[in-house]
């Protein structure tokens, strides 16, 4: 079996695993792109990654306590998410899958809202138009097409290549390595290519699709998949927040200016389980996890900050306190999220009235009002 798809070859890297800057002739253009990213910006990225991890830990704990039905951690993928999200403009539109907590954090989606779906309290949880950030999509790859259609709409709206950074708009869609095998992702690449959509396909290759390694989905590095569609592909070290930022920035610039779609493969690692119902010890080795633990994206940026004298203890304590507060807020507010009223299941099924929904809603309301089926007729109806 080809090992090309799993190897760390051809990656754009700006920080090595020890947090030292990488200076090669190949990464020069990317270094130029991040030349302006300094102290506060770097600390901002560090903070976003740390808060994302705290969100993961707290949500996992809540699931263990029976407060959430399921949870999918982003642990290990914070650099790919936070780095790419930092490259976006507010008007850019994001289509996440279900693991992009770091992206949603940067986009400003409230952390409690992000857990409504996992709590079984809502099928969505936030207003997508408020943050230009769509809801989670659970059917693998289907949102790649929504993103492409949305990007076609942006194009029609004339918001590409205006030269005005406040108007030029792009669409970023996130999905995993497993998703690249889906028909919808491939159809999305076809539609994006032939329409030259302002779009970034961001594949987080975390090397596993539940228990299946990437080699079960592809025989070539995923970034190369773009080429057959006529879409440029870039492989980036997904645990290097600076490189993820730089590569996404380049792809977004291309999209904004009318240069079309880009496929970015962020080569990273899912450090936790697939979800809280998964047992990764059944399919992967402890040594592999250890290897990736030593390449942790948060530690890597922390090391850079320290090496360059940008680490500030007061600031670090402030971020810690913020993470504590986030944890506390999740613990209390998520627990307080009760069931919506029964009638909520009938709301918004249609945008306009629908007789069947109205009938069944009225029937259930009546049934719930009657304490117990009093006569034969109600008892028969109750079987409906």
């Amino acid at each position: 079996m080809s090992s090309r798809s799993t190897g760390e070859t051809g990656l754009v890297q700006l920080l090595d695993p020890e947090g030292a800057r990488v200076t090669t002739p190949e990464n020069e253009s990317y270094r130029e792109r991040v030349a302006h990213v300094k102290g506060d910006d770097l600390r901002g990225m560090y903070r976003d990654m740390l808060l994302t991890r705290r969100f993961d830990d707290e949500a996992t704990a809540l699931q263990r306590q029976g407060e959430l039905a399921l949870f999918a951690q982003s642990r290990g993928q914070e650099a790919a998410q936070v780095g790419s999200a930092h490259a976006m403009a507010p008007q850019d539109y994001v289509f996440p899958s279900y693991r992009e907590h770091g992206v949603l954090h940067v986009r400003g989606v409230d952390p409690v809202d992000r857990l409504r779906l996992f709590r079984g309290q809502d099928h969505g949880g936030w207003d997508p138009t408020e943050h230009n950030t769509h809801l989670y999509t659970l059917v693998i790859g289907s949102h790649a097409l929504h993103a492409t259609g949305y990007a076609m709409g942006v194009q029609r709206d004339g918001l590409v290549g205006t030269g005005d950074p406040a108007r030029d708009t792009a669409v970023v869609v996130y999905f995993g390595d497993g998703a690249t095998a889906q028909g919808d992702v491939n159809e999305a690449l076809v539609f994006a290519a032939v329409n030259n959509t302002p779009q970034v396909f961001l594949v987080q290759n975390n090397q596993w699709a539940i228990s299946e390694p990437t080699t079960r989905q592809a025989r070539v590095p995923l970034a190369e998949r773009g080429l057959g569609f006529g879409i440029p592909g870039v492989r980036v070290d997904g645990n290097d927040v600076l490189a993820c930022y730089a590569v996404t920035l380049e792809a977004l610039e291309r999209a904004h200016s009318g240069g079309g779609p880009t496929l970015v493969e962020a080569f990273t690692y899912r450090m936790g389980a697939h979800t809280t119902s998964d047992d990764p010890t059944r399919y992967r080795e402890r040594e592999e996890e250890e290897y990736w633990r030593r390449r942790d994206p948060i530690d890597r940026l922390g090391a850079l900050l320290r090496a360059e004298g940008e680490w500030d203890e007061v600031w670090a304590a402030g971020v810690e306190a913020e993470a504590e507060a986030l944890g506390e807020r999740l613990r209390t507010e998520v627990r307080a999220l009760g069931a919506p009223p029964t009638a909520a299941m009938f709301e918004h099924v249609y945008a306009t009235p629908h007789a069947t929904v109205a009938d069944e809603r009225a029937w259930l309301a009546e049934y719930e009002q009657a304490d117990e089926p009093a006569d034969h007729e109600t008892a028969t109806e109750a079987t409906r």
Partner: protein, 340 residues
């Protein structure tokens, strides 16, 4: 050809005789003219005008951005239409034939139908999916399916089928204007039949929800939609010759079903026969029968009888006349009803 097709211009008056297909074309044309956010997308819909020529002339008039030839990818057509709708557009997708909607089935049932619901009404996806459906044209495999129940069973979708050129014209405009996703089933066997169409008819939003009495009668109610309305009307003609007065109710919509209209008719006639091309098993007829039994039990002189396709794959063209509900099979069902 094209000029002739589009002959009635933007301010038509009075009724014109049109084929069913041309009535849809003009309905689409009116929709494109009414809202510049609307667009048509599908395979071969542009220069060819679609394999049934329903979009004939529209690309020439509205341009390649409004009448879009897409890649040959049904999931892609519907999935990108969802994205366009999220961005404020009103896409009308053409699926070339009923049997080819299934690659898009996932997008329709798991995504399109639920976007409004799971966003708690914050997002609307006003996508229309036009599907030439049904049999009777001697076609090959996968070109004569009746998948309406698969969509009607999915909450969030409206599923409709016109039976006359006038309704086709009115209903396609209502479908494009609807904020809800609409599965618009075009009875392909009727594309070439003609009828009077009042092109100046005002928009009729309620038309996607309301059944129509296609022919009044007093002895038995024949319930049909789409292609079988014509069959039911022929059966009613034959019955009139035998002294039986049949009322024909054209459902127009399979979701929502206008049950009050059916029940009102059955209360008058006491008998009900449901006619559709799709298999009777788990079908629209089963739903109508159950609802009529619940709501008009004491008015019924006979059980509700279904006439439809069988629980077998759509047969080869040489056998479809035995599969499709014929006038004779409808008459036989009415006889059984009257004999109770």
């Amino acid at each position: 050809m094209t000029a002739q097709l589009l002959a009635p211009t933007t301010t038509p008056t009075g009724a014109t005789t049109l084929t069913f297909a041309k009535a849809i074309t003009l309905g689409l044309r009116a929709a494109l003219a009414a809202d510049d956010k609307s667009l048509i997308m599908g395979e071969d819909v542009g220069r060819l005008g679609g394999v049934f020529r329903v979009t004939d002339g529209l690309q020439a008039e509205f341009g390649e951005d409004r009448v879009v030839d897409t890649p040959l990818a049904e999931s892609g057509i519907v999935g990108t239409a969802i994205g366009l709708a999220l961005r404020g557009y009103r896409p009308v997708c053409e699926i070339q034939f009923d049997g080819f909607v299934f690659p898009a089935f996932d997008q329709i049932t798991t995504q399109l139908s639920k976007m409004h619901y799971r966003s708690r009404g914050r997002l609307q996806v006003p996508v229309v999916i036009r599907i030439p459906f049904g049999g009777g044209i001697g076609a090959v495999e996968h070109h004569s399916e009746s998948p309406e129940v698969l969509f009607a069973h999915t909450a969030g979708l409206r599923v409709v089928s016109p039976s006359t050129p006038q309704d086709a014209y009115d209903m396609i405009r209502a479908a494009v204007a609807s904020p809800d996703p609409v599965i618009f089933l075009e009875p392909k066997g009727r594309y070439w039949s003609k009828g009077e169409v009042d092109l100046s008819a005002p928009p009729a939003p309620g038309i996607l929800d309301t059944a129509r009495v296609a022919r009044p009668g007093t002895d038995v109610t024949l319930v049909a939609y789409g292609p079988t309305v014509a069959t039911a009307l022929k059966a009613a003609d034959a019955l009139a010759g035998e002294g039986t007065s049949a009322e024909v109710v054209d459902l127009r919509a399979v979701s929502p079903l206008d049950i009050p209209a059916v029940v009102a008719s059955v209360r008058r006639t006491g008998r009900c026969v449901v006619v559709h091309e799709a298999p009777t098993v788990h079908g629209v007829g089963a739903e109508v029968a159950a609802r009529v039994t619940e709501e008009a039990f004491h008015y019924l002189e006979a059980p509700v009888i279904r006439v439809g396709g069988f629980h077998a794959p759509y047969p080869v063209a040489k056998l479809e006349h035995d599969y499709l509900p014929s006038v004779d099979r409808v008459l036989d069902a009415v006889d059984r009803s009257l004999a109770f």
